[in-house]
Structures are given as structure tokens and as C-alpha cells.
């Protein structure tokens, strides 16, 4: 019974914590510009992330180590430092975008410009991490994030052409504006296969003290959680396709976001949208802040845990504090959160290989995963994901130039 409850809670927190500004923006832009055609990119990204998240959880449960721990131990400090610099910069920019998402929600709610909310939002993120435990952050905020299910309800209520929705799940070639189409596809993949997501998942497994008995639970949580989460992204795409595309609204400004829900729910739709974006981005901001601190502490062998007092792990606490301050500067200087989001999703895609290649080795290392090594099927999937990652890395920059807004 206890395990069933854990599974249920794990799925719920995965669903509630899945959506963030990157997945909202890329899915909405995809729907607004290419109707239901790009659903396959969300499906493909979702499938990749299911495998990577499951393997991250399995690795942590069996070895008692996180993926960044093992990357430093197996690949050495030079590889780790390269990964750290690249991922640190990308995650900081993504964090700026997520914090910007919180500030957009606050601007929509109050009318006060998003830049003014930069410091207060950063302070809230910092305060919850400073005072809260891992459970509060993971479960509390993610449970609140279930409000994003309003997108699923909305997508049902707009009565899309369901056969076309199913058809959109299969890859297709663009009928117009090819470079823009592929750019958005790449951005969706970058929003789905975010390295911070599966690194954070392995850190979370250690925080929750998972062991071998959690292997089946992990499989269920990662599969169901990421699947349902992807369905919410697809719901956002459907809403944009049905409500924005016919009106020629391209979603290049965050003021247009309420148009996703107000036609269905009226004034309630506005507040649902504000709450959804605010809570989803708040949760994501906390996760990314913690992940940057986890990556630093794990790579350099410091004491770390969200369940200890800050003074017991001073360097870890200092790292997440400095991180959130730096991210708030990105918001305060007034960089458009929507444009930053699209840019960061694309560069996340470009930097995927450095994060994913180690899985090929670590998930077959008996000194870590013992008998729970990858079979030939999982290894083939990881190899395929590595191939997709390299392809994304190669095409992202040219597409950013020719297809980015």
C-alpha cells in the first residue's frame, strides 16, 4: 500500500512538475504556426526523456550515486569541467527564462512590468530552497503544478480533429517555411530532453534515499509521469492550433499567452493561465537552481542535500544563492523572457551530446549498476538518442540563424 502511494505521488509530482516556460512556449508556437503537425516532436522528445529519466533513477537507486558523481569519477575532471561550464551557462540562461516566466505571470496579474518582479521572484525561490526540504520542493510545488491540467481540459473542450491529432504524432515534412518548422522541432526537443531534468531526477532519488527496491517504482513513475506530462504539452499545442492559428496569432509576445485559455474559460481562463505559468515556472526555477548547485557540489565532492541546514553545507548553500541572484539579473535587465526561452531551448538541444554520451558507458558499468545493467534494447535506445543529440547539435545553430525569430 505504501509503495502504491509512493507511485501515485511520484507520478503526480512528475506530471505537475513537467510543464515549464520552455515546453509551454515551444508547444504554443508549434501549434500557432504549424497546426497539429509538430505533435511528433513532443512525442519523440517525451519517449527519449522517459528512457533517460528511468535510467537516471535506476542508476541512482542501485549505485547510491548521482549521474554527475559518476561522470566525474569515470570520465575525469577535464570532461566534467567541460560539461560543467557548458551546462552551467545553459542552465543559468534557462533559469533566467523560468524566472522570467514567473515574472510574466505576475505582470499579467498585476500590470506591473516583469522586470520589477525579478528580485521578489528570485527571493521567493531562494527562500523556499533555504527554508524548505526536498520533499516540500518536489512534492509541494509539483502538486500545485497540477493546475496545468487546465490545458488538457481546454484541449478537450475545443474539440480538435482527433484523427488529425493522431496523424500529427507521426513525423511529417513541412508544407511551408521549412527552416522555421525544423527550428521549432529542435526547440521542442530541447525543451523535452533537458539535461537538468534527468540529472535532477538522479539527485532526487538520492535525496529520497531510493535503493534497489525502488527499481520497479522508478520504472512506473518515469514512464507514467513523463507520458502524462507530454500530454499536457500536446494539449497546449492543440489549443494554439485551434485558437491561435485561425486568427494568425504567432505568439511572439507573452501578452498573447492568455489567448490559449480565455476563449474557453472566459475570465477564469486568464487566471488559470496566470496561475499555471506562475506555478509551473516557479517549480522549474527551484529545480534548476538546485540542479546547478547539485552539479557543483557533486562534481567537486562537497557536502550537499536539500534536507540539511544551510550552514551544514555552506558551499552548496552559497552556490544556489549566487545562482538565483545571477538569474534575477537576467530578468532585471529586461531580456524578453519569451525570446530568451526559445533561444535557450535551442542551445539546450545543441549541448545535449556532452550530457547523454556518458549514459552509454555508465549504464553498462557493473561497478555502479551491478546486475541492473542496460540490456541490448536499452543500449540501442541510448545509442539512438545519442545519434539524435548529435544531429540536433549540428543543425541547431544554422536553424537558429535561418528559422529563429
Amino acid at each position: 500500500m505504501k509503495k502504491l502511494l509512493e507511485i501515485a505521488l511520484g507520478i503526480v509530482t512528475s506530471v505537475g512538475g513537467f510543464l515549464e516556460i520552455g515546453s509551454i512556449t515551444t508547444a504554443a508556437q508549434a501549434g500557432a504556426e504549424f497546426s497539429l503537425q509538430l505533435i511528433w516532436a513532443i512525442v519523440l522528445g517525451g519517449l527519449c526523456v522517459i528512457f533517460l529519466v528511468e535510467q537516471s533513477g535506476r542508476f541512482a537507486a542501485v549505485s547510491g550515486r548521482t549521474i554527475p558523481d559518476a561522470i566525474r569519477e569515470r570520465f575525469g575532471s577535464n570532461y566534467f569541467l567541460s560539461l560543467y561550464v557548458v551546462l552551467g551557462i545553459v542552465c543559468l540562461l534557462v533559469l533566467g527564462a523560468e524566472l522570467g516566466g514567473v515574472c510574466i505571470a505576475l505582470e499579467l496579474a498585476t500590470g506591473i512590468g516583469f522586470q520589477w518582479w525579478g528580485l521578489p521572484a528570485a527571493f521567493i525561490v531562494w527562500l523556499v530552497i533555504w527554508k524548505g526540504t526536498f520533499g516540500v520542493i518536489e512534492k509541494g510545488v509539483s502538486l500545485l503544478g497540477l493546475i496545468t491540467l487546465c490545458f488538457v481540459v481546454g484541449a478537450w473542450l475545443v474539440h480538435p480533429q482527433w484523427p488529425q491529432v493522431v496523424q500529427g504524432a507521426l513525423p511529417s515534412l513541412p508544407q511551408h517555411d521549412s527552416s522555421r518548422y525544423w527550428f521549432i522541432a529542435v526547440s521542442i526537443m530541447g525543451a523535452s530532453i533537458s539535461p537538468y531534468l534527468f540529472f535532477f531526477y538522479s539527485s532526487g532519488a538520492i535525496e529520497d534515499e531510493w535503493n534497489e527496491s525502488y527499481i520497479q517504482i522508478n520504472r512506473v513513475i518515469s514512464t507514467a509521469g513523463m507520458t502524462f506530462g507530454s500530454l499536457i504539452s500536446i494539449a497546449v499545442l492543440i489549443l494554439a492550433a485551434v485558437l491561435l492559428l485561425p486568427k494568425g496569432v504567432r505568439l511572439d509576445h507573452y501578452q498573447q499567452l492568455p489567448l490559449l485559455l480565455t476563449p474557453i474559460f472566459g475570465k477564469w481562463g486568464f487566471w488559470l493561465l496566470v496561475a499555471s505559468i506562475g506555478i509551473a515556472c516557479l517549480g522549474a526555477a527551484m529545480e534548476i537552481t538546485l540542479q546547478i548547485a547539485y552539479l557543483t557540489a557533486q562534481g567537486f565532492g562537497w557536502n550537499w542535500s536539500e534536507n540539511q541546514h544551510p550552514s551544514a553545507e555552506a558551499r552548496f548553500s552559497f552556490t544556489y544563492s549566487i545562482t538565483i541572484i545571477l538569474a534575477s539579473l537576467i530578468v532585471i535587465v529586461g531580456i524578453d523572457p519569451l525570446k530568451l526561452t526559445v533561444f535557450t531551448m535551442a542551445i539546450t538541444a545543441a549541448t545535449l551530446p556532452v550530457s547523454i554520451v556518458p549514459f552509454l558507458f555508465l549504464m553498462n558499468d557493473p561497478s555502479y549498476v551491478r546486475v541492473y545493467r542496460n540490456g541490448w534494447f536499452s543500449n540501442s535506445i541510448v545509442l539512438l538518442i545519442v545519434g539524435i543529440a548529435f544531429l540536433l547539435a549540428v543543425v541547431t545553430i544554422p536553424l537558429q540563424i535561418f528559422g529563429g525569430s
Partner: protein, 117 residues
């Protein structure tokens, strides 16, 4: 035992399971005609930087002159160590060694001064 696979970059914990850092370097000593002896492990930012490039290591050491640990890496003699599976156990108390000098400095000067720490 494989020095690089089993020892280098592994987490170092003290006798109370407290993290001390990671094995950033290993020093072997050649003395006369005998086999090289594994003498110390090294912990320190300048050691990691030196692996990336010697010039970077020297720069980090020079810039660290005014910092608490003066940029000097901390060496632990081999006879104080036990090599476990993917970690190294040092027969020491972490807070009594220079390994946690930075941790204690951050605790005292910054984090400890914030309410709720």
C-alpha cells in the same frame, strides 16, 4: 588496483563518512632504482586546473594567494587511505584538516550570518 580507475576523481570521505572532496591528483615518488611508490593524493582547485592545463593551474594558484588556503592543494599520505568501491576513505577527521577550510570559511563569513541558517 588501477590508480586512475579506482582512485583518481573518487570522493574522499573521512572516518565519520563526512565528504572531504575528491581525489584531484595522485603523486608517485621515484627514489633510486626501486619501483615508484604511490605517496599522496591531492585535493585542491589548482590541482584540477593543472590537469586542464599547467598554465591554468599556475594561474589559479597565483590568484589564490590571498584566499584562506593560499591556493595550496591538500595532500593526504597514502598510508592514511583505504580504497573502497568508487570512494576513498581517509583515516582523518575532516574538520581538523585543510580540506574543509573553504567550507568553514563560507559557514562563518557568509552563510552563518543569514537568518535561518
Amino acid at each position: 588496483m588501477d590508480l586512475i580507475r579506482d582512485c583518481l576523481d573518487k570522493k574522499v570521505i573521512d572516518k565519520d563518512d563526512r565528504p572531504m572532496g575528491r581525489v584531484d591528483g595522485i603523486i608517485i615518488e621515484i627514489d633510486g632504482d626501486g619501483p615508484p611508490r604511490v605517496a599522496w593524493i591531492e585535493l585542491g582547485v589548482s590541482t584540477i586546473a593543472g590537469r586542464f592545463s599547467l598554465r591554468l593551474g599556475r594561474l589559479v594558484k597565483r590568484l589564490s594567494q590571498h584566499l584562506p588556503d593560499k591556493g595550496e592543494p591538500y595532500r593526504i599520505p597514502w598510508n592514511k587511505l583505504r580504497i573502497g568501491l568508487n570512494e576513498v576513505e581517509a583515516n582523518l577527521e575532516a574538520e581538523k584538516t585543510p580540506a574543509l577550510e573553504w567550507e568553514l570559511w563560507f559557514r562563518k563569513k557568509i552563510i552563518g550570518r543569514i537568518p535561518g541558517a
